[in-house]
């Protein structure tokens, strides 16, 4: 059955296990499709839309969805469709960079803690415990308040909340990996700790960080929009989904569509990342690969 289904891929020469797994995961495919359409729309929306996402026409404020404005217009008379997808772009950018930063720092710290062990490990992990025991949204609120709301600072705040979970994850794997023969061999060869950590250990555990990264993207996008909802989002006039929904709350009686559409896009984005993340985990994690076969 598989043979028939993927025959054409085989002819193209790109047929292999992974592609079968990608394409046979229906939910993963859904995630990929919905993510790529949102990304595509958000990239071309400026070119396609006849409306300016920033400049509005007050006389056109709060018009319900129509053929002219398929999502309606917001409180300052700006086209909601245009703003939603420009906003999605902002949210995506924040989530990608924020998660990337958090994942990198967390992975490196986890690597150090796991590999070196001892007091370094103990103190680093207690810091991680401490950070994990404060709701991360509160740390983010405090950080944005310190640094001032701007795209860069929101990225930093989001990354901060992700560091401990990546630390824990990486450390857990490193502890197992560091006793494997090849690492011990590398030590016997007299290679420096630094070199072993980054050249030998890191590549062998990165699959975990990568699937975790995709899974956390969904969480980051929710966190970023949560900050926006609380009024600590990116600066106007640039739209961002959470800020848009937070503002729309003031108009819930007259213009419910202002909440509806950005929210659906936000939900789809988070959903897509989760589905993709699950798929990637299945593919990259060798143990689950065995299970699948």
């Amino acid at each position: 059955m598989m043979e028939i289904k993927f025959g054409w891929l085989k002819k193209l020469g790109i047929y292999n296990d992974k592609i079968i797994m990608i394409t046979s995961s229906r939910t993963g495919m859904f995630g990929l499709a919905s993510l790529s359409s949102i990304v595509f729309l958000s990239l071309i929306v400026d070119l396609v839309s006849p409306y300016n996402p920033i400049k509005g026409n007050l006389a056109q404020a709060l018009k319900p969805p129509s053929l002219e404005h398929i999502f309606g217009t917001d409180e300052l008379g700006r086209d909601l469709f245009t703003r939603t997808f420009v906003g999605a772009r902002t949210s995506l950018l924040i989530a990608l960079l924020g998660t990337g930063l958090g994942a990198s720092i967390g992975t490196v710290l986890g690597l150090i803690a796991g590999y070196l062990g001892g007091a370094v490990d103990y103190s680093l992990m207690r810091v991680a415990d401490a950070l994990l025991s404060i709701p991360s949204i509160l740390i983010a609120i405090a950080l944005v308040a310190i640094l001032g709301p701007s795209t860069t600072n929101i990225i930093i705040s989001i990354s901060f909340g992700l560091i401990p979970s990546f630390m824990r994850l990486t450390r857990g794997v490193v502890v197992q990996v560091k006793n494997m023969e090849y690492i011990i061999a590398a030590k016997l060869l007299g290679l420096s700790n630094f070199r072993i950590m980054f050249k030998h250990v890191l590549p062998n555990i990165s699959y975990i960080s990568i699937s975790q990264f995709t899974l956390e993207l969904g969480g980051s996008i929710l966190m970023a929009s949560g900050l926006g909802f609380l009024g600590l989002g990116v600066q106007p006039p640039y739209p961002e989904l959470g800020t848009m929904i937070g503002t729309a709350k003031n108009y819930i009686g007259v213009a419910p569509y202002l909440i509806l559409f950005p929210g659906i896009v936000l939900l789809l984005l988070a959903l897509s990342f989760n589905l993709l993340g699950n798929m990637l985990r299945d593919i990259m994690d060798p143990t689950s690969r065995v299970n699948m076969k």
């Binding site: 025991s133 404060i134 991360s136 405090a142 929710l222 929009s225 819930i252 509806l260 936000l266």
Partner: protein, 311 residues
């Protein structure tokens, strides 16, 4: 005994975590621009009034002195006086905490009451439309922006249907919408785990044997499968208790629920340092104690966890 050693070690861990959280939050808060005394007096107040307020709350002392004072007081469980309300922080927190616990309990109840049967049913009807529906629901539940869900529920049940109050805690029915909102992100992992473990247990020989022995399907499910599938569900439940606390911050803000989550957010926005510090201290303590309780429960259930329980 070994159990005491384990427990004692973990207790020290809790103390270390809670104290470092306190110091971390102290430093974080003092770095934020904004002056509680100025906010209280109003931006048009003369400087001498602002100075008096600062003096009153010890905000003029050098920061290290303030930190030491704060930590000293912490050991006697004196969390200080709120700059905004001028009442002891602990009183304010004890007033708000029940609301959060009540909301969390309600959300947890909904999550378990719906999540477990849903996951179990989906597993029993694997690959049926119901299973797909539940699986989709789980995915959507995990990806749902809490504040958006809350607003949509308000829109539907309060604004359109005018059935339920949209916020506050004054009415017995006020709890319904926030509890549903808060329960969904918890329900999803519970349903997911239930479905997964059910599927695993259903594959087991003893279940097949039970069926082969001619036991009624219902009996098999309730007597054998349910019992065996519950341990991982409890695990997830323990983990989710902490997440409930986090979800409460946003949910309470959306629904104007007078719990501790909203108290912290409001206090950050008012730069009420003692209040934020106190509330975070209590939150971290609860979180650490829940973790400790969950872990201890496992240690009590399964001695092997104690051995490998270092990480």
């Amino acid at each position: 005994m070994a159990a005491i050693g384990f427990f004692g070690k973990r207790l020290i861990g809790v103390a270390v975590v809670v104290i470092s959280v306190s110091i971390f939050m102290f430093v974080l808060l003092r770095s934020i621009p904004g002056d509680p005394a100025r906010l209280l007096a109003g931006f048009d107040a003369p400087p001498e009034v602002v100075e008096q307020i600062k003096e009153r709350y010890g905000l003029n002392d050098p920061l290290p002195v303030q930190l030491i004072k704060y930590l000293e007081n912490l050991f006697t469980l004196n969390l200080g006086t709120s700059v905004r309300t001028d009442s002891p922080v602990i009183v304010e927190i004890l007033h708000r905490l029940p609301y959060t616990l009540y909301l969390s309990a309600a959300a947890l109840f909904i999550a378990v009451a719906i999540g477990v049967p849903l996951g179990a049913y989906a597993a029993l009807k694997k690959d049926s439309p119901i299973d797909y529906f539940v699986t989709a629901l789980i995915s959507v539940g995990t990806a749902m922006p809490t504040f958006w869900l809350g607003l949509m529920l308000i829109l539907l049940f309060s604004v359109q249907l005018k059935l339920l109050p949209a916020g506050g805690a004054g009415n017995p029915s006020s709890i319904i919408l926030p509890a549903i909102t808060l329960s969904l992100p918890v329900m999803a992992p519970i349903a997911k785990t239930t479905r997964f473990t059910f599927l695993e247990v259903l594959k087991e020989d003893f279940v097949k044997l039970a069926v082969a022995k001619g036991l009624r399907r219902k009996t098999v499910i309730f007597k054998h499968v349910m019992k065996n599938a519950m341990v991982p569900v409890v695990t997830v439940l323990g983990l989710q208790l902490g997440n409930l606390m986090k979800g409460a911050v946003i949910t309470e803000t959306v629904f104007a629920w007078p719990g501790i989550g909203r108290l912290v957010v409001d206090s950050i926005f008012a730069r009420d340092y003692p209040m934020v510090q106190g509330a975070i201290f209590v939150l971290a303590l609860i979180y650490a104690l829940i973790n400790l309780a969950v872990d201890s429960l496992y240690a009590a259930i399964d001695p092997r966890i104690r051995l490998g329980g270092a990480s």
